[in-house]
């Protein structure tokens, strides 16, 4: 079924104009006809009046002599007959004597009768040339001229009357009207023809104009409308052609704008993906950022980078100039920063290196203001340098006051040739408990109010931070964001607004303060990060490991090993010198040796990467009971089974190397062929099966500690069933 769309009926202009022309011509012709008819009627009436008056005058002259004779009717009758024969339109031809008797008439029977004039005759206004004895009268049917008949001496003899029927006048006028009809029809036909032809000629360009406009509507702006018309339609075509050119330019520009908007959106996403999200926690220090992008792609950038040794790099930068170029510079900055941050410990050095590298890439006039700090979570100390960036605001938790820190650094690439370096210096800030450091980009302090006249300013930043500082980093961040948002009065930010807060929480500081002071290992932050949220449990575990170390130092036997695989050969001889171990049966000794070998190999490989200059300790702390009386090889009880229960001793490994995750180990299932294919990672299986318990205390202040409980009185031959060994170790394993 075909769907019918409502079609609007179209009235052709040429037909409208033709009909209008026809109507106009008709009106004109009819009006002219009416005027003409009136004139004809008046002229004809006047003419007839004159003619009957003349006829009556002539009849009066002729009748004078007849009326003076004895038989006037004999003279008058033939005369009147002749008169009517020649003028059939005459209805009245009568001569009456002074006594009112009819003496002559076309109807001979009326002669001698008393003349009775027709009813209702009224005199007409006099016409030019009408004599005093002459009178024109009329009624509805007749028009009659009366002339007094006088003798040559002037004696009144009677009256001659000549009349005509009005019908004659009407008929005569009708005849004239009938003659006008062909003229009217001819004029109408000519008018229609002319109007139609003229309209067709004039309106012919309209079709071309219409198809041209339809073409433009379909997006063809390149084919102009060619009319060659010198009327207003030609001007209209030229206007439409000009409009098409403008539309084409507009369309091209719109496409370009769309493409650019798409590119900018992509750039914005890329830029946004470079920024860290959420809160980052490093020990008791918290770093949190917020970024509100401007409508246009801005050049703000901030980052939090984990550096070797547990340090944290914190950067916030603002690239001068927005748009795609600014966005690309932030991408370059991101890549350079991540590459260089591990190479330079000093923020000044790092910023100088960035200045040198960016300087070779950035166009003249483009520069970057940047704050970069290196945070050491253990000490709560941050060393920073600022290259022309906004001053650092510090809220001090202890005094609940704020302080500004200004530096003299100029922005990166502001002046080329290494000048920037001379203006930079490293500044150290102690982040105390409850302190909040606030860094930001100029989008914050330069945010304008709704009227666009006043900036948010540093004083307001200070006030907001002062008020919210005691609430911690999240409160400061929220308060600043809300304050700036309400300052803007709901309008979109004109520039990127970036905020970064670094804070040290008071609660976590208390945990830390309970730990013994002193140097901490490089892996301390790792352990803390792993144990975030359970800080006190981790501290408790670390304490147990340290207690075991103290015990080992007091009672144990030590072997110091270089971190190489070759040096593992020293273990076997050392075992032989240890109380309670030296006289283990050979197979058990072999197995124990293997377990210690694997434990030490782990340290050499993973903690020190087989660095021969690094050393670690292996301790054996024997059970509290006395060693068997005949422990020495070659003794009299050599080879005797050791069933005497003496309790558990323990091995302790201590290193200062990198901590490694011990909590993702799973016992190998040797019935699984995939485990066979893997062909490695069985060291832990050996250690777990040989030792009673294995506890791992990574990143204590004395380094990484592994405690392996071992009972030499238990027969290793009765292999510890792995299933019974999954005891409820509370430590990280």
């Amino acid at each position: 079924m075909k769907a019918s769309s409502p079609v609007k009926s179209v009235f052709g202009i040429r037909w409208i104009v033709t009909f209008a022309a026809v109507a106009l011509i008709t009106v004109v012709v009819l009006s002219l006809g009416a005027v003409h008819e009136r004139n004809v009627r008046e002229t004809l009436t006047s003419e007839i009046e004159n003619r009957i008056l003349l006829s009556a005058r002539n009849l009066a002259l002729i009748s004078a002599s007849a009326l003076l004779g004895n038989y006037p009717e004999l003279t008058l009758h033939p005369l009147l007959k002749e008169m009517q024969a020649s003028r059939p339109e005459l209805a009245v031809t009568t001569v009456v004597d002074v006594s009112g008797v009819i003496q002559g008439d076309t109807d001979v029977r009326k002669v001698g009768e008393k003349y009775v004039p027709p009813d209702g005759l009224k005199p007409l206004p006099r016409v030019p040339g009408q004599g005093t004895d002459e009178l024109l009268v009329e009624n509805d049917e007749l028009l009659v001229a009366r002339v007094t008949v006088r003798s040559s001496a002037g004696q009144r003899l009677g009256t001659a009357s000549v009349g005509i029927r009005r019908e004659y006048i009407t008929r005569t006028i009708g005849r004239v009207r009938f003659q006008q009809i062909p003229i009217l029809i001819s004029l109408l036909a000519a008018g229609i023809g002319c109007a139609f032809f003229l309209m067709s000629f004039l309106l012919r360009p309209v079709a071309a104009l219409r198809s041209g406009i339809e073409r433009i509507g379909n997006g063809d702006f390149d084919t102009p409308i060619r009319l060659g018309d010198r009327t207003e339609l030609g001007l209209l075509a030229e206007t439409v052609n000009a409009m098409a050119s403008q539309l084409k330019i507009g369309q091209t520009e719109a496409r370009e704008r769309d493409r650019l908007a798409h590119e900018i959106e992509l750039a914005r996403r890329i830029q946004h993906s470079l920024l860290p999200t959420g809160r980052r926690t490093f020990g008791e220090l918290v770093i949190e950022g917020a970024h509100q992008a401007a409508t246009e792609v801005g050049g703000d950038y901030y980052d939090v980078i984990e550096l070797p040794g547990g340090r944290v790099g914190i950067a916030i930068a603002d690239v001068a100039g927005k748009g795609l170029a600014g966005c690309m510079v932030t991408s370059m900055l991101h890549a350079l920063l991540h590459t260089l941050s591990e190479m330079y410990d000093s923020p000044t050095e790092l910023l100088s290196a960035l200045d040198a590298r960016l300087g070779s890439m950035l166009e003249r006039g483009r520069f970057v203001s940047m704050f970069y700090g290196v945070l050491v979570p253990e000490t709560g100390r941050i060393v920073y340098a600022s290259a022309g960036h906004c001053p650092l605001l510090i809220y001090r938790g202890a005094t609940k006051t704020v302080e500004w820190q200004y530096t003299e650094g100029i922005p990166l690439c502001a002046i080329r040739g290494g000048v920037v370096r001379k203006t930079l210096r490293d500044v150290t800030v102690e982040v105390g408990p409850g302190d909040v450091l606030v860094q930001y980009t100029d989008g914050i302090n330069e945010a304008t109010d709704a009227s666009g006249s006043e900036q948010f300013g540093f004083e307001q930043i200070e006030r907001v931070v002062q008020a919210a500082g005691s609430g911690g980093p999240a409160a400061v961040l929220d308060a600043l964001q809300q304050a700036v948002e309400s300052w803007r009065g709901g309008s979109s930010p004109e520039d990127d607004e970036t905020l970064l807060v670094i804070a040290r929480s008071e609660a976590q500081v208390r945990d830390r303060s309970s730990e013994p002071a002193g140097a901490r290992t490089a892996g301390a932050q790792y352990a803390e990060a792993q144990n975030a949220g359970a800080g006190s449990a981790a501290a408790e575990a670390a304490r147990r490991g340290l207690e075991r170390l103290v015990e080992a130092r007091q009672q144990g036997r030590r072997l110091v090993l270089p971190a190489t695989i070759d040096s593992l050969g020293l273990i076997r001889g050392w075992i032989g010198s240890c109380p309670h171990l030296e006289d283990l049966p050979a197979d058990q000794l072999e197995i124990l040796h293997l377990a210690l070998y694997e434990a030490c190999a782990n340290v050499a490989e993973h903690a020190y990467h087989e660095n021969p200059r690094r050393e670690y300790e292996l301790w054996w702390v024997p059970p509290n009971g006395p060693p068997p009386a005949s422990g020495k090889p070659g003794g009299e009880d050599r080879g005797a089974p050791h069933h005497t229960v003496v309790g558990e001793g323990f091995f302790l490994l201590r290193d200062d190397g990198a901590a490694y995750r011990a909590d993702n180990w799973h016992e190998s299932d040797f019935s699984d062929r995939a485990v066979w294919r893997r062909g490695r990672g069985f060291g832990r299986d050996i250690i777990q099966r040989v030792m009673d318990e294995v506890a791992y205390y990574p990143a204590t202040r004395e380094g990484n500690i592994v405690v392996m409980t071992f009972d030499p009185s238990e027969s290793l031959g009765e292999l510890r069933d792995s299933e019974t060994r999954n005891s409820d170790h509370e430590r990280v394993l």
């Binding site: 197979d587 058990q588 990672g681 069985f682 299986d685 050996i686």
Partner: protein, 116 residues
Amino acid sequence: MNESFEVSEAKSLGRTVVLRVRGRLDARAAPLLMERAAAVRANGQNLVLNLADVSFIGSSGIGAVLAVAEQFQEQGGIVRLTSLSTSVASVFRLLNLDRFLKIDANEEESLAAVEL
């Protein structure tokens, strides 16, 4: 301390090769063992590993033995271990590997089992 490690081909009988392993089978030696085993496997032969003279086997060595056994099995080949030294035997027992690996008392038994 740096006890030498070597793998020697003792005999080749039919489709079976006997490799004798000597010394410390640790992380350094493991790749050599796997390399020699791979050569045998490439020839489509079965393997008998004589571990009588292995003075020490570490986890890497165990891993190598397991990987070799798995690789042969994947290709439909056979690996048998024979004449385990005390240390090797105790480690295998410790890890319950003696339940999964095919272990014989001597080379003859292994060869007989392979050629069966």
